[in-house]
Amino acid sequence: MRRSMLFLPGNSPNILLNADFLGADSIILDLEDAVALTEKDSARILVRNAIRSLNYTREVIVRINPVDSPYWQKDLQQILPVKPDMIMPTKVSCAKDVAVVAEEISRLEAQCGFAENTVKLIPLIETALGVENAYEIASASPRVAAIFLGGEDFTADMRCKRTKEGTEILYARSRMVLAARAAGVDVYDTPWTDVEDYDGLIEDAKFAKGLGFSGKSSISPRHIPFINEVFSPTEEEIQYAKDVFATIEKAKAEGKGVVSLRGKMIDAPIVTRARQVLEAAEAIKGGR
């Protein structure tokens, strides 16, 4: 269950020490934008040691530098042996960008004696070309488990202003969700960047959920409880899902074919949705 993903700078020992306790379902340890060029080496080693020694219980994603930079291979060489759950390649614009990284990961996995496809990919799509090629990227490799929209760089590439309303990224968001669902992978939304504006965050997260995003990322630990709440099933949703299965069981026992609940016929999409809700509820188990 990935409702929230929290970006954390890879060069801050105290943050890495506490990364597991900040409430996010996934932590994204960043070697890219949060780390100055002069600190790339130390951040890489710090993140490697943190993963090796801190026994994180949350899903660990490492954001590596772009394939057109001189750092991404060194990033992978240090990080892959400590087996992160996922690698987030950056500025991914086409299937080839995914393939290059996937190939290097395969080489390193073999070297480390890991099974093929142990480490998954969550490409960060943050260019106009990337959004245009979203489906191609999402289906580029069996390693791709999800795709991720980076709104800030995307709007810069689009030469438009990033606004709180987010009209300028509406098409990109919709396109990303469509591509991900068509490719059968998850899809994650860009962070809300106003750290103090919780009402705006909640609205934005609800909107993203409404579009079909699997979850949302954040740059602030303070946003995590709100994101988790938005992307968790509500009590009513859980009860409805339980009622769906109870009704089906009852109908089966009575030998009925077609059944309805609260005046609506229970069809395949309703059952699928109910199953997803119960799976999500089970994954959270009362936690926040």
Binding site: L17, N18, D20, F21, L22, G23, L54, S220, P221, R222, P225, K285, G286, G287, R288
Partner: protein, 469 residues
């Protein structure tokens, strides 16, 4: 008739203060207090020596006390809290006689019972009239409650009010009444407003502190104590304030109507009162300007004396009816004993204040602390100084999980059912050590520089000196 005396020196002469006597001060002007040093300077000029100072808290603004220790004016200190400046000097052995640490409840108890007699009490007062009726609620140096000063004023042989705001008789809404006061001195300034109420008691932005606060609020929710009539105290630390904010949200959502909020009062507690979370605030000390304004204007926000707040020998005190208190710690050990007196190097930098009083009284005493600070584990095998006994502490909340005192198994079960991460305190200690290593114990001297008295007057622990570097 008037009790006004022209100068502090003259008031000291009239009081009959002489070598070997005990004087007292309160700490409501906190780090802005100018009165204690003003009086000590006057005592020094009068050539009086060997004075025992009973002051409810020593702040860093009282640094000049060090000089008066060196020149033989001060030979003894009794207090409930001592900041790092004087604390370091005491730890390095500046006083021949060990400091006596009491609690905020133990101090008035011992003053009232006569165990800790005061010859002359100096009461800094932000407003007073010529007969000595005084209050902290108004004036340019307003500090709100004068809770800690009542026992001093009422039980000292001589009580002198020192004010910078002499008002016409009779002062309305007085705190301490004229029948206890011998003399009144008016000076230009009793305190520096920026230090009296700093206005910086703000909710933490530290993500780790917020996680701790969230767990603390949810633990209170799960404890079974959060229902109509709920009573609550919290400290002014960033995580404690954040916990109060989260708790308020829960109370508002569930429509819980609490009975009273207690203690040192901040704007966050005032906000809870105004939002209907409590029927009343019992205020022994104001921490910020909002609290000062509220105690002046809102009849539901009431001043209480230190004895009413926490005295263990009173017929009852407000801590006895407390449901939950949130407290801090510099260290906590696997027996749940808490240190709030010394830092990791053994230097004095704090004190119990109301820590052990509220822990003893509350149905659930909760410590909030990160697992480590600046790479020093907070959860340890044994605390350097036992400030509050572990058998009065129920819960430790860290960012890595909640440890419940084994005496309170039912709380652990409630927390687990609420989905909170309950862990054994030894497990938390192991985590802290694994992450930070085990620091070497500081090298302390054989000499005892302070005795820590529990609220009932028994010796709880001794603090040893630190060799001067």
């Amino acid at each position: 008739m008037s009790k006004i005396i022209a100068s502090i020196k003259e008031a000291i002469r009239q009081s009959g203060l002489s070598d070997g006597m005990t004087i007292s001060f309160h700490h409501h002007l906190r780090n802005g207090d100018m009165v204690a040093v003003m009086v000590l300077d006057a005592i020094a000029e009068l050539g009086i020596k060997d004075v025992n100072v009973n002051i409810s808290s020593v702040f860093d603004t009282h640094g000049p006390m060090i000089e008066h220790i060196q020149n033989g004016v001060i030979t003894g200190i009794e207090t409930d809290y001592m900041g790092g400046v004087v604390g370091r000097a005491v730890s390095e052995g500046i006083l021949n006689k060990p400091v006596t640490f009491r609690t905020h409840g133990g101090r008035p108890s011992d003053i009232i019972s006569g165990k800790s007699p005061i010859d002359v009490a100096f009461i800094a007062a932000p407003a007073a009239d010529c007969m000595g009726n005084c209050t902290g609620k108004v004036g340019k140096s307003a500090c709100g409650s004068l809770g800690y000063a009542f026992a001093d004023a009422m039980y000292a042989k001589t009580s002198i009010v020192i004010t910078d705001n002499l008002v016409d008789y009779p002062l309305m809404d007085y705190s301490i009444a004229e029948n206890y006061i011998d003399y009144v001195v008016c000076v230009d300034k009793i305190g520096e407003p920026s230090g009296i109420v700093s206005g910086t008691t703000k909710i933490t932005k530290d993500p780790v502190g917020l996680v701790i606060a969230d767990y603390a609020a949810r633990a209170i929710e799960a404890s079974g104590l959060l229902k109509d009539g709920f009573s609550f105290q919290t400290g002014a630390g960033g995580a404690s304030l954040a916990a109060a904010k989260y708790l308020k949200d829960i109370m508002m959502k569930q429509g819980v109507k609490g009975s009273y909020g207690l203690g040192g009062i901040t704007s966050y507690m005032v906000d809870m009162l105004n939002s209907g979370c409590f029927e009343a605030l019992y205020d022994v000390q104001c921490f910020d300007l909002d609290a000062v304004r509220s105690i002046r204007e809102n009849p539901k926000h009431m001043e209480v004396t230190a004895a009413h707040y926490a005295s263990p020998t009173a017929k009852s005190s407000a801590v006895d009816s407390l449901d939950v208190v949130i407290l801090g710690a510099t260290e906590i050990d696997t027996q749940f004993n808490v240190n709030v007196h010394t830092d990791s190097n053994g230097y004095i930098m704090g004190g119990s204040g109301g820590h052990s009083d509220t822990a003893a009284g509350a149905k659930m005493a909760m410590i909030v602390a990160p697992l480590s600070r600046a790479r020093l584990p907070i959860v340890v095998d044994q605390v350097l100084c036992k400030s509050t006994p572990g058998d009065t502490i129920d819960v430790l909340v860290t960012q890595c999980g909640i440890a419940v005192n084994p005496r309170r198994g039912e709380l652990a079960e409630r927390f687990r059912q609420a989905g909170l991460p309950v862990r054994d305190i030894c497990e938390l200690k192991d985590m802290a050590q694994r992450l930070n290593g085990t620091p070497k114990k500081p090298q302390l001297s054989d000499r005892v520089v302070a005795n820590v008295l529990y609220r009932d007057g028994t010796l709880l622990d001794t603090i040893h000196g630190v060799p001067a570097k």
